[in-house]
Amino acid sequence: MFDFLLRRLAQLIPTLVLVSMLIFGLQQLLPGDPAKILAGEEQDPAVVEYLHKKLHLDEPLPVRYAYWVGGVLRGDLGESVRNQQPVLTLVAQKLPVTLQLAVMAMAIALAIGIPAGIVSAVGRGTAWDWGANVFALWGISTPNFWLGILLILLFAVNLGWLPASGYVSPFEDLGANLKAMIMPAFVLGNAIAAVLMRHTRSAMLQVLSADYVRTARAKGLSERTVVLKHALRNALTPVITLGALELGTLLSGAVLTEQVFTIPGFGKLIVDAVFNRDYAVVQGVVLVTATAYMLLNLLADLAYFAVNPRLRH
């Protein structure tokens, strides 16, 4: 287990280096002098001059990368040109909000996707199967920002049950926080539930025709025990790996969902930064997101390891 973890961590490092190059390289896409663009509309020559020095723009590209990555390693992701705050501070402020949204969304996705996948595989060819497949197609094909708008229309505008937008800290008022977060979490979880349902269904179908399931049935175990204890446990392993890929969807989806529901998280930070031409913040958010995504995938690999005893030897 420990060896496996070390090996996976060692694989992460070259990827992270390349990701950092990629993100640093984004800056090269800016037309003209980045200092002039970063200096805002006035382009005060003194500011441009200062930025030139600060960003080492007169140095060759590899040297500039070395400066940048050196800063990143010390936890210095640069400074927001808009409010002069360190990017890391901004990210740290917004991260818990998105984290809560992501955890709630994943819980909803698991609670819908896995049972739907089981029901659909066990009842293959029945109305349940058909219904679950329609749900999956709907989930995959609906843009989540549209679903968000529709839910606002129904639950906030027409029924008045939930707030249309806004965010309350759970430490201030947990009830209000959950009321504000339930719709965005559902929107975000819905698409992932659809993908999880499809993976669970195909994994279950495969497992249900395996010999050990036939043996379990032949022993006279109840169908419930066969499905939940013998089949599901083995079907879940591929679902974990494939499901982990959806964490990227979760992070991407959060950008749009936070925009629709005006939730001050990570997604809103990157969108606002894009429009304020706050490029250091954009780079910082992408870097943190990519790192988080890689670490989450690593965790998923470990979970895969944990539920699959065969791999331990």
């Binding site: 070259p14 992070l251 990157i270 894009v274 780079q283 958010v285």
Partner: protein, 260 residues
């Protein structure tokens, strides 16, 4: 089949937009602001009196164009690179695979947003951003397919009779990896349509006043309590187009891969 029919219907709508659309999609009318659907405006009007139906019809162009162009960009980048990695192997494969991993480590839409942000907001840049962000998926798929095909007997035979490597790659390997690429492309168009709508929703795609479903939804969000029709129709259009590409992709997969 249903997917194909709906896709063809959308293509027809995009091509014949000038004739099918009842009104000018950018013509404003101060006397018809946020009017509910009626005989004159079937889908209602928007916040500056433009006909929503006409804008949805013209919006088909931006969405389809974005879907097809982005995926073409992905294929043009991804297939040759994936072929090179799978066919050459060794350090070429190692380098390409590590770079692909790096791209795949950035969530697709976040990478597309970052690219679009640095390139500047426009439909063209959004298509480039989506195409580049989705390319690694094609690199990986092509590489995997090529690895499977290049050990087949017919490739060995082609090599044995002295065909040059480029000819083997193009004449003997490429035709045998196209089926999964076609399936993936169809599904990728669905994802690209959503991605374009997402970028436009965020203001990074098609710029106003040109109609696009994503930007229509962005505006509609502000008028949700008194003009809900503005939000309903562009959303249904995105949903139907994406659904039909997904159905088409699933259908193609079943048709091309009997084992699946």
């Amino acid at each position: 089949m249903l997917g194909l029919v709906v896709v063809l219907a959308f293509i027809a709508l995009a091509v014949f937009a000038p004739w099918v659309s009842p009104m000018d999609p950018v013509a404003t009318s101060w006397s018809a602001i946020r009017k509910a659907p009626s005989a004159q405006h079937w889908f209602g009007t928007d916040e500056i009196g433009r006909d929503v139906l006409s804008r949805v019809i013209w919006g088909t162009r931006a969405s389809l164009l974005a879907g097809v162009v982005s995926v073409s960009i992905s294929l043009l980048i991804g297939v040759p690179i994936g072929m090179a990695a799978g066919f050459r192997g060794g350090w070429v494969d190692a380098v390409i695979s590590r770079i692909t991993d790096a791209f795949l480590a950035c969530p697709f839409l976040i990478l597309a947003i970052a690219l679009a942000a640095f390139l500047g907001p426009s439909l063209t840049n959004a298509m480039v951003a989506i195409g580049v962000s989705a390319a690694p998926i094609f690199v990986r798929l092509t590489r995997g397919q090529v690895l499977g095909v290049k050990v087949e007997d017919y490739v060995e035979a082609a090599r044995a009779v002295g065909n040059p490597p480029l000819r083997i790659a193009l004449r003997h390997i490429l035709p045998n990896v196209t089926a999964p690429l076609m399936v993936q492309s169809t599904l990728a168009i669905a994802a690209a349509v959503i991605a374009e709508a997402s970028l436009s929703f965020l203001g990074l795609g098609q710029q106003p006043p040109a109609p696009s479903w994503g930007s229509m939804l962005n505006t509609a969000k502000n008028f949700i309590d008194n003009a809900p029709w503005m939000a309903i129709w562009p959303g249904i259009a995105i949903f139907l187009l994406v659904l039909s590409f997904n159905l088409l992709g699933d259908g193609l997969r079943d048709a091309l891969d009997p084992r699946g």
